[in-house]
C-alpha cells in the first residue's frame, strides 16, 4: 500500500490517514474537503508526472506531488 497520495496509482482510491497541521497550503486542501477520514481517488496524472487529478467528495481537483506527498493514506 502506498504511503502518500503522491504515490497512489491512477485509478485507485484510499482513505486520508493524516496530514501535518499548521501548513497553510494544506489548510486550503482541508477546506476543499481533504480531511483525515475522507476517501480520495486519483483520476489521472499529467504526462510528465504531475500535476495529478484527484476526486474528493465528488469534486475534481488537481495538485502537484509536493502537496500530495504530505497526505498520508491508508487502504480504502
Amino acid at each position: 500500500m502506498p504511503a502518500t497520495l503522491a504515490e497512489l496509482p491512477v485509478g485507485s482510491s484510499a482513505i486520508v490517514q493524516a496530514m501535518p497541521t499548521g501548513r497553510s497550503c494544506l489548510t486550503r486542501l482541508r477546506e476543499m474537503g481533504i480531511v483525515p477520514g475522507t476517501r480520495v481517488s486519483v483520476t489521472r496524472r499529467a504526462p510528465l508526472g504531475e500535476p495529478i487529478e484527484i476526486c474528493v467528495r465528488g469534486s475534481h481537483l488537481s495538485m502537484r506531488n509536493h502537496e500530495a506527498a504530505f497526505i498520508a493514506i491508508s487502504a480504502a
Binding site: M19, T21, G22, S24, C25, L26, T27, R28, L29, R30, E31, M32, G33, V35, P36, T38, T43, R44, A46, P47, L48, G49, E50, P51, E53, C55, V56, R57, G58, S59, H60, L61, S62, M63, R64, H66, E67
Partner: protein, 694 residues
Amino acid sequence: MSAAAAETPLIAIVGNPNSGKTTLFNLLTGLKQKVANYPGVTVEKKIGECYSQHGKKLRLIDLPGAYSLNARSPDEAVLRDVLLGRRPETPRPDRVVCVVDSANCERNLYMVSQVLELGLPTILVLNMVDVAEQREWRIDAVKLSEILGVPVVKTNAISGQGLIELKLALSREDISSPKWQNAALPEGVKAALEHSRDALRQAGAIHTRSSLLEPLYLLSDHDPTHYGIADTQIGRIHELRSRMETDFPGWEDALVAERYRRIEEVCALVLKRPDQEIETSTTKLDRILLHPVLGFVNLLLVLGLLFFLIFKVAEGPMGWIEAGFGQLGAWVEGLMSAGDFRDLIVNGVVPGVSGVVIFLPQILILFFFIGIMEDTGYMSRLAFIMDWAMSKVGLNGKSFLPFLSSYACAIPGVMAARTIDSPKDRLITILIAPLASCSARLPVYSLLIGVLFPVGEVGAFVQAGIMLGLYALGTFGAFFFAWVFNKFVMKGSASPMILEMPSYKMPALKSILLQVWQRARMFLVRAGTIILGISILIWAASTYPKTAGDDSAKQMEHSFAGRAGKLIEPAIAPLGYDWKIGIGLIGSFAAREVFNSTMSVVYAVESGDDDNLAPLRDKLAAERRPDGRLVYTPLVCISLLVFYVFAMQCVSTIAIVKRETGSWKWAMFQLGYMTGTAYLLSLLIFQIGSALGY
C-alpha cells in the same frame, strides 16, 4: 450615499469559483451594472440593480468567488471584509444569496456554513442542477431548507430555470436569520479568541460589537498581502496568531475537520448519490482533452486558433481603424486653417486616439476567447497540461495563456493575468509578459534584419532564422527573469497549485459578452487616457521648438526630441548608436513600431510605410558617420535588435501595468529591469564585438 440608496436593500451574491455565481448575477442585473475596483487592489467590484417580483428596486453586489472566509488572496479578503462590514466604502449587505454548484454541493457547503454563521438573512441557491442530475445526485431541497433554516431555490443559470423562484425569494421581506449553528468552539480556543477580540478592539482593529467570528477570520488570514487589514494592526494580529498556534497547535485544521463532520451529517440526510461515479460527459471529454497525446494536439489546435484570431482576424478591423483615423485626420486637415492647433489635432490627438483604439480588436477577441475557455471549463484543463512546464520557472499553468497572448500584444496579455489567482504568480507573469516579442516589434525586426542581410545576399531562410532567434531570445529572457523573480525578488514561499477541474458546460454567451465589454471599457477609460496624454507629449517634443523652413529632417534635429537624442548620445554611444538612433529610441516609447516612421523622418525618406521598407532600409544601409564609417554595421544592427528584444519601450504597456498592479512601483520596476537588461546586453555585444574587431 443617498437616502433612496440606503432604503434599497443590498444583496450580496457569494459562492465558490465555478458555481455559476457571476452568470446568475449577470442574468439578474443585465446591463444595469457598475464595475469598479476596490481601492488599491485589482479586485472587481460589481454592483447591479434589479427589480423584485413586486417591482421593488434591489441592489446586488457580486462578491469575488472564494472557497473559504479564511482569506488567502485579496479577492477572498474582500469577500470576508464586505460580509463582516469591515469596508468603509461598501456597506454591509442586508441579505446574502449563497450560490452552490449542486454537483459539488458537499464541498460548496463548506463556505455556506461559514456564511450562515454570520447570521445575515440568506437564500441558498442550488445552481447547475442539470449537472447534478446527470451525475444522479439527488438533493432534497425541502429538507435542506429545514435543516439550515433558509429558503433553498434550485436553478440552472444557463437555461434560466428557477430564475422566477429566485426572484420571488429575493422579493420576500420576511427572510429570517439562518438557524444553522456550527459546533461550539473548543473552550480553550473560544477563550483565546475572546482575548484576541478584546486586544483587537482596544487596538481599534475591529468594531466594538463584533462577534467572535471577526477575530477568528482575521487571525486565520493567509493572504500574503494582508489586504483589508491596516498596516498598524498586522503585527498585532501576527502576535495573537502565533500565541494561538503555540497554545493550540493545529486549531485551524481542527475547526475545518469539525465543519466537514457537520456537513457530512447534513449530506447524509439530504443528498443521495450513487456509490460508483456515473460516467458523465465531463469524464468522457476529459479522456480525450486530457489524453497525453490527443490532449496536447487539441491544445495546439486551440492555441493555433487563438493565434489565428488575434494575429490574422484582428488585422482587418485594425486596418479599418487605422484607415478611419487617417481619413479623419485628413478631413480635419482640410477643415481647419493651418497652424499649431491643427497640427496638434492632426498629428497629436488623432494618432493618439487611434493608438489607443487600435488595441481594441485584439483585446475584444482575446477576452471573448478567454471567456469561452473559462466558462466551458477548458481553461483549467489548459492549466493542467501546461503546469509542469511553467513550474520549472516557478510559475503555474494559469500563467501560460496570458504569456502566450503577449506575443500578439502585451496589453491584453497583462490584462489576462487577472485569471491567475495567486497574487505572486500574477505579478511575475505581468512583469515578464512584455518580454514576449509582440507584433509591434516585428516591423523593427524586419527593417534591421533587412539592413543586416539584404535579401539578395542571403536567402530568406537566414532572415527567418534570425527572426526566430529573436523570438527565442525574448522567450528565454522571460523564463529566466520569472525564475529570478521567483527565487530572489518576491517574498513568500511558492504558492501551492490547487486547481479545481469543473464540469464542462455550455458557455453563457450573454454573460461573456458583458464581461468583454466591461474589460474593453476599462481599458479605454483608464489606460486610454494615459496613452493619449503621452502621445500628445511625444508629438509636442518633436514639433517644438520650430525651425523656419519646411525641412522635416532639420525640424526633427532642432526639436526637443532631436535635442534629447543628442543629449543621450554619450549614454548610447558605447552601444554603437548615434544621436539619430537616439531619436528613434525615444520615439519608440510611444510604440515600438514608431521607430520606423521616426527614422523615415530623421533621414527624410519619403515612404515610412510598413509594407515597403526598402527605401528606408537602403538609406540606413548607406548611412555613414562624419568620419566616413558605416553607421549600421552588422554589430550595431545586432546590438540594436537585442535592445529591442529586451527594452520596455511601450507607454501603453506601462500604463496598463500601473493599472493592473495598482501602483507605479511595479510599472517602474519593470521599465527599469527590462531597459537595464537591454542596455547591458547591447553594451556587452557592441564592446566585445568591437574589441574582437567586428
